[in-house]
Symmetry: C2
DNA sequence: CGGCATCTCGAAACCCGTTTCGGAAACTAC
DNA sequence: GTAGTTTCCGAAACGGGTTTCGAGATGCCG
């Protein structure tokens, strides 16, 4: 049997005709409404089965006002951060009957507006806006007609709901881990100073140092987020302060550079110097020598939370306002604790 | 002026009423049909502008049978490979009026079927199936009613259209680069043997060796795709064959491990030993010491091509069959050519 | 000024599924 | 036997847009 050239999808009327009832009855039978005789219902169900009927969600959405679709508007698909968030959101959505439109604005405001228009004209039920930095981004406004949640990058309008990682807490957590290991001469090599993520983590770490009565060694070094910067910064730092016994880094990439330099100059990790990373990027952390302790921002969880907030808003709940911080998680590996290799 | 709690989107009827015409005329005016007087058209356009009217794509699609949406069914969002492909596809689609549904099946066939159902019931116009390996995957069949293109992972049904990187050519290209540099004692450290990508690249490289009259040093080492494996394999390889002057690796991660080991034992790269990676993963290649030469599979281009094929099929063209190979690209950096640092 | 072609517009049907509401049939109660 | 209930089904309207087709208003001709 050849497939028809144009495989017109079967409609509810087709099912109704085969079952010998009206479309109205077929609809009621398939949706479990109770004004249908059991025998009739079974006939309709059998007919639907036979024709492999799947209802046209467009028509359904047209009437219901709900489409079962959500927009994911990201500003950077290449970024590693948006992917886990998208996954978490997909997790939360996928459980139900929701599908997600993915749009990438490439950080271009025009393109973002364009995508936003397109999404709204498709009558999405909700929108998640994902940024690639934790710095605030312009709000999309409130008169969109659908609930909006900002993930990772918070909105600059505090009457929006934003969900973002708690980088201050993350910095504190990392510093406290090093302190709890007895390290006292701790240096910080961070990333790009223009990123709130870099500054926040340093803030948190400094709070922990202060609380423990420690003075950090040297000034915090800001640069970029690369391995190369980590290497160069470590060289400069250790030349000036050879006494340091731990380095708190702004990212796993930077940590890898620092580890590299430490091996070059023959310092043992973690015995002589402990090294903490940030982000828990597995490709980097688990293949480092030794494996790299890091702070995981729980991005997947963040994405799931964002999706759940959108869901809640769909069910009529108030979506809430302000910036909601999600807690980080400490992942201990061999770069801070020796027996873990 | 406060935004209404429920911002009911403006409909075509609203526009028509404001312009003082019937919905039918309004529709014709906005869609550029010529049975409308210029003055009337302008009135309608102005009214639409005033009300910020954007037509309900659902209703539009309901009638037209075209929804302007495409499904992207991937089996692994975490994989680095699918992301550039998705980007390329988004590029090609985004130019027009098409939006993409993103679904992640997590390599689970049940989940895949579930998502497929959902997508079809949303009346997508086309489907791109993205895999995370280049090994063939089960076909979804032909009676879906929409054009399907398989990207990266080809379908096991040769009457489907698949687009996948030419790994044999990639292997050959890498080997020829090393040969052209005068290297004659070349070893291969590859990834997981169960991956077609690993085997194909080795095949291509061996063809190049044969053509040049060279005998590879030692057996090809298969392992996994990690940096750690690269280190271990390099150690074993160099212990047994200290004479090698180039290593052809199965991935950039493996290359990084190899580079690491070479520095450990004091071999200079590229002077003593040249190293080639695969995938051109910038985070790894540009931060290596020296920077890593690699083969780029042009995945973004692949995604764009896949999207264009779907487009073509929508316009009535035959979608074609078989496996279409996309050419790789050689990226030369310091790990093979010294002056490039 | 009548007859005919042209232009412009709107009523109505349609896409597909849901829901309301009314009616027919079967059943109960007296 | 009649009146009142209940059960089950279908006609019709709806949602938001598109398209067909016919009607009314013009313009042009002789």
């Amino acid at each position: 049997m050849r497939a028809r050239k144009i495989a017109r999808p079967t409609t509810l009327s087709d099912v109704a005709r085969l079952a010998g009832v009206s479309p109205a009855t077929a609809s009621k039978a398939l949706n479990g409404r109770d004004e249908v005789a059991p025998a009739t219902r079974q006939r309709v169900i059998d007919a639907a089965e036979r024709l492999a009927f799947s209802p046209n969600q467009l028509a359904k959405g047209l009437f219901a006002g709900r489409t079962g679709t959500v927009g994911l508007l990201t500003s950077d698909l290449e970024g590693r951060f948006v992917i886990p968030i998208l996954m978490g959101a997909e997790d939360a959505f996928g459980a139900g009957q929701v599908n997600a439109f993915l749009c990438d604005a490439r950080g271009d405001e025009i393109r973002e507006q364009h995508h936003l228009r397109a999404l709204l004209s498709r009558r999405i039920d909700g929108l998640i806006v994902v940024g690639r930095q934790t710095d605030p981004r312009p709000s999309l406004g409130h008169d969109l007609g659908v609930p909006v949640v900002y993930a990772y990058a918070p909105s600059d309008d505090e009457t929006d709901l934003s969900i973002t990682p708690d980088n201050v807490e993350a910095g504190r957590m990392a510093a406290e881990h090093l302190i709890s290991l007895g390290r006292t001469r701790i240096a910080q090599i961070s990333g790009d100073r223009s990123y709130a993520a870099a500054r926040d983590r340093v803030t948190g770490a400094n709070q922990a140092f202060k609380a423990a009565g420690l003075t950090p060694v040297g000034d915090v070094m800001f640069g970029d987020w690369s391995e190369t910067w980590g290497r160069d910064a470590a060289a400069a730092m250790l030349a000036q302060h050879p006494e340091i016994d731990a380095v708190l880094c702004g990212s796993d990439q930077i940590s890898r550079g620092v580890l590299d330099h430490l091996r070059d100059i023959g310092r043992s990790v973690p015995h002589d110097v402990a090294v903490m990373g940030f982000d828990n990027w597995l490709v980097l952390t688990t293949n480092a020598r030794p494996q790299l302790s890091s702070i995981d921002a729980n991005l997947k969880q963040l994405g799931r939370t964002a999706a759940e907030r959108v869901f809640a808003a769909l069910d009529g709940e108030d979506i809430g306002t302000g910036i909601e911080l999600t807690p980080p998680r400490l992942v201990i590996r061999g770069s801070t604790v020796a027996r873990l290799g």
